[in-house]
Structure formats: C-alpha cells, structure tokens
Amino acid sequence: MSNTEVLLQQLIIGLSNGMIIALIALGYTMVYGIVELINFAHGDLFMLGAFLALTVVGALGLDAIPEPALLSWGFIPLLIIVPLFCATLNWSIDRLAYRPLRDAPRLAPLVSAIGVSFVLINIGLFWGGLRMDVFNGGVAAASPKDFPWIVSSANLLGPDSNIILTWNELLVFAITVPLMIGLSVLVKFTRLGKAMRAVAQNPTAARLMGIDVDRVIGATFLIGGALAGAAAVVYSSYNHTIYFQMGFRVGMDAFTAAVLGGIGNLPGALVGGLVIGVIRAMSDQYIATEWTNVVVFAILIVVLTFRPSGILGATVREKV
C-alpha cells in the first residue's frame, strides 16, 4: 500500500467511526442542552439497543443468510424497531428516574443517571444470557457477541483495490447524514423544536407560554433515545461485536465529542465526533495504538485551553 492509499484508508475509517460517535454525541448534547444533565446512562441505552438489534436479527433469521445482498431487507425492521425501543426506554428512564429530581440539587440526577447506567448494564448482562441461537444459548452471557454481517462486505472499489470501501461505510453515512439534517430541521423550524429551544432557554417562561415542559423534555429524551437506537444499529452492523460493557467506552467517546464540539450545540457534536474519529485513526497509524486514548485527551485539553467552550461552542456570558 502506498502512503497516500494508507492516508485515504485511514480517513475513510476515521470518518466512519466519527460519524457513529457523532450520532451518539447528539443524544448527550440534546439532553444536556435542555436539562443540563450528563446522561451517564446514554451509552448503556445504546448498548441495550445493540442487544435488541441482535435479538431481532436472530428472530428474523438474518444471521442465516450466508452472503448478504447489497442491502439486506432486514435493515429496515432493525431501523424501526431498535430506535423505537430505545426512545421508549429513554423516555421511561426520564419519567421514573430524572423527572422527580428536577428541583433537586444539581448532582442528584447525575448520581441517579449513574444508577440507571448500572441497572442497564445488568440488564445487558442478563440479555446476553438469552437462550437464543444468536446468543449461543446464553451460556456465556458476559462474553462479546458476534453480530452477523447483514450488509455485503464486498469491496466497492473492486477486489484488487488496496483501499477498502464497502456498503458498510456508505451505510454509516447514508443513515447518519439524513438523521442529522432531519434533526437540525426539527430543532430549527418545527413547533416542537421551538418549544425545545424555549425550554432550554427559560423553562418558567416556556411554561407560561403554554408549553408542557415535562412533555418537551420527555420528547427530547425520546429523540435522543431514537438516535442512540439508530446508532446502535449502525454501530453493530459496522463493528460486528457487542458486549454488555461497551456502553461506557462508546459513551465516553461520544461525550468527549460533544464537549470538544461545544456541548449543547448540534453541529458541534458532529464536528467533535468526526475530529475524534479521524484523530483516533491517525494516531493508530502514525503514533501507536496504545497511546491513542492519551493523544485524544491531550488534544482535547489543548483545544479547551485555547477555546474553553469547545470548537463551535459560544462563549457564555453570565448575566450579572
């Protein structure tokens, strides 16, 4: 492989990974923007989404298809069921664990979120013990699970090309980009989007406008959950391994992306995700894999030294 090819290949890998990170980061940033809560359970919600995706794959027999077609039809039910499930779950979590704490001290919902995260991890562990074929009869509940190929792995650039670009990478973009555009449109132009922005800026005033604040916050969790579900499907079909503890690391990457881009800022999440994805790929290639995490956080600290509110974050001027 020539050096240019390597660079191109790493860019493709970095951007694909970055897109997935960005999709999860959106969930963090939306929830943070509206209730100022670091939703620690978000990564684990994403993990449960991946487990559901695998369960659906097993139930529909998608794993039995030996060489999947370009785009397996199975993708469509996955993309409906999993986001729906994650959205509902996220909404219920908000309803049961966070909503009662709206007036509590600031860190109380954070601890509650950590608690929820533990519960979800435990559910993931049990889920891995399901007596289904895709879970190998549930004997090794805690082991990583293989997520079968449901999209063709044939190289689109031809079998002899050194650079690998498959439908898997394209699918990441094909799902993520429209979701992001849709989300921006929703927040900018729809009635719900306006209500969300109003609640984020001033909940009391929003209430006086006749906005049901709890419902709007619920809707935000719903959308954030759906994004996590979509991300779970994309992640699983791209990486093919899921395990019950994966939420923490993926969630941390996503949260870092959200902060790097400027938390509460939707385009910021995208920029942050892509930057982190690309840095990871480049560090793996040109520095050393074992130092990649250190490199990412060193860059985060340097960026925040010069831009304390993240790349796209606006400087917040406190009203005195």
């Binding site: 340097v302 030294t305 010069f306 304390p308 001027r317 005195v320």
Partner: protein
Amino acid sequence: MSLLHVDDVTMQFGGLTAVNKVDFRVERGQIFSVIGPNGAGKTTVFNAITGVYEPTEGIILIDGRPGMRPVTPRTILGIALVGVLTAAGFTIALNLESMWNAAISANYIYKQPFAWGKAIGDALGHLRSAPATLTLLPAIAGLLIGVAGATSVWRRSRRSPDVVARQGVARTFQNPRVFHQMTVLENVLVGMDTKLRTRFWHAACRLGFKHEHCSSVEKAMAMLRFVELEDEAGAAASCLSYGHQRRLEIARALASEPKLLLLDEPAAGMNPSESVDLMELIRKIRDRGIAVVLIEHHMNLVMGVSDRIAVLDYGNKIAEGTPDEIQACPKVRKAYLGTDLD
C-alpha cells in the same frame, strides 16, 4: 486625581453596542448616581468597572491604576517558565521510559547499593544522544504550546473582578447574590477575605489562627451592627428576607474596606419608608470616607442623596450634573423622566 476614571468606555456584545463612549469621574467621598432606563447600559458599566466584563474600548482607572493584572516582569517570567516547563515536560515525557531504563534499570542490581551520581549522568547522557525528533522537536512544540497557552489563559483572566476588588472596589448586585449555604456572619467574613492573612497550612493546622479569627469575627459583627443585622448573625443567609439580603450584601461589601462602593439598585423592592432608611445608610457610608456609585430608579432617593448624577440612554451618556441640573435638563426629561413628573 479622581478616585474613578471612566474614559470613553464602549461595550459591544456580538455586534450590539450596549455602552457607547461613556465617560465620567467620581471623586473621593462623593455619592454619584447613574440613572437611565433599563437596558441603557448602567449595569454593564458597573460590570466593566468591576472587571466582570472587559470593555471593548476605553480606559477605566481606579485611583489612577487600570483594573487589571499588570504586565510585570513576574508575569513574563511566569509565562516563560510555563513554556520552559511544558517544553521540558514534553521532552521528558517522550523519553521518560528510555531515560529511566538508562538511569535506573541499567544501573540498579537487585538489592545492591545504587550509584545515584552515575544514574543521573547516564540519564542526561541518554537525553543528549537521543535523536532530535525526540528531544528538540517536542521541546520546540512544548515551548510554543506552553507560551501560547499560558498567554491565552492569562489574557482571558487578566481582567478579573478580584483584581479590581483588591484595589478597593466593592459592589452589590441587582438581584442580591448572597452565599445561601453560609450563615450571615460567614457571608461578611468572606467579604473580609482580602484583609485576612491566614495561609493554607496555618488554617489546616490551626496555627496562629485563633487570634485572627476572633478579631475578624468581631469586625464582621461590627459591620452587621452597622446595617442592623447583628441579631441574624448565626442564621442561614437563605432564610433572610429580600430586604435583609440587600443589607447583608452591603455589609459584606463594606467588610472589604473599600474606597469605592457600587450599589446596583439597592432600593428595588423597598417601600418609600424603607427607602428613606436606605438613604440614611448611604449617607453614613459616605461619611466613613467611602465614595458611592449608585444605580437607582427611585427618583426621590437619587435626587435626595446624590452629589452628582449621570444619565444614560441607549448606551450613551446624555447628561451629567448635580440633581438640580439634571431635573432641569430638557433632554433628560424627554428621554427618561417624562415631561410631566407628576
């Protein structure tokens, strides 16, 4: 030299000019009022004076000194030091393991005595023989990042309220900002912070701590007596009524023994009789030799107590003068007071 110089101060927020070329002077022992409609930029001027905001243009001098951290040789030295340390840090970080191997692992034989001198020599020798990409490059990068980072961080915190406060400026806020989780007495003690000398280790081990603590508590009680809050000294500040919180804020501000006191709408939410008491209090503060700058809407209070008044409208100063001059000024009547003052 006047106590406070505000010269051609302009404040812009994202293209919007909140304050436009405002200038005024406050003399020692004077009560100076700033009036004007809401949004005219009065509080913004306060924030610029106290260092909460940095003015886009213009100069603010307190007792002839700008209210920001001065560029001293120490500052430059400090930034240079951060740069050098970052450079050294980067270089050592990149070579840490190999230096350790050269110095410690290579020289130490299990449970044998260790030659420290040789180890240090070996470590430096190793660093000298390492390729430039591992020594010079990180050192230069570290120096650049260190100096740039330190400068950027220092510049951001250059104008900080604490610098202004240490020059003898204290203030209150439009909405009282007392420390809710503290007692009333502790609130005042926080105000005295700049005057206290207790160092960290003294505090931790209670060395020579008692004496200063007792005298500061005594002073704080005197402040509370001055604003007639001594009965509430042990209560949580959050339990105070709105009016009491305002007085607590004044006591806290006075505790720092300021030369200049800025009061942001102290009479908001007071009924006329309370306003009269407040007027009295402000005069008493002035009599202690403290200059007072006042933002207020209660015209009776302003006119009754002020030595001079400045009027702001849409960020511009439209008039300045004694209360009588201001009341007579047609421009002010038109823009602010309304033609019939009833």
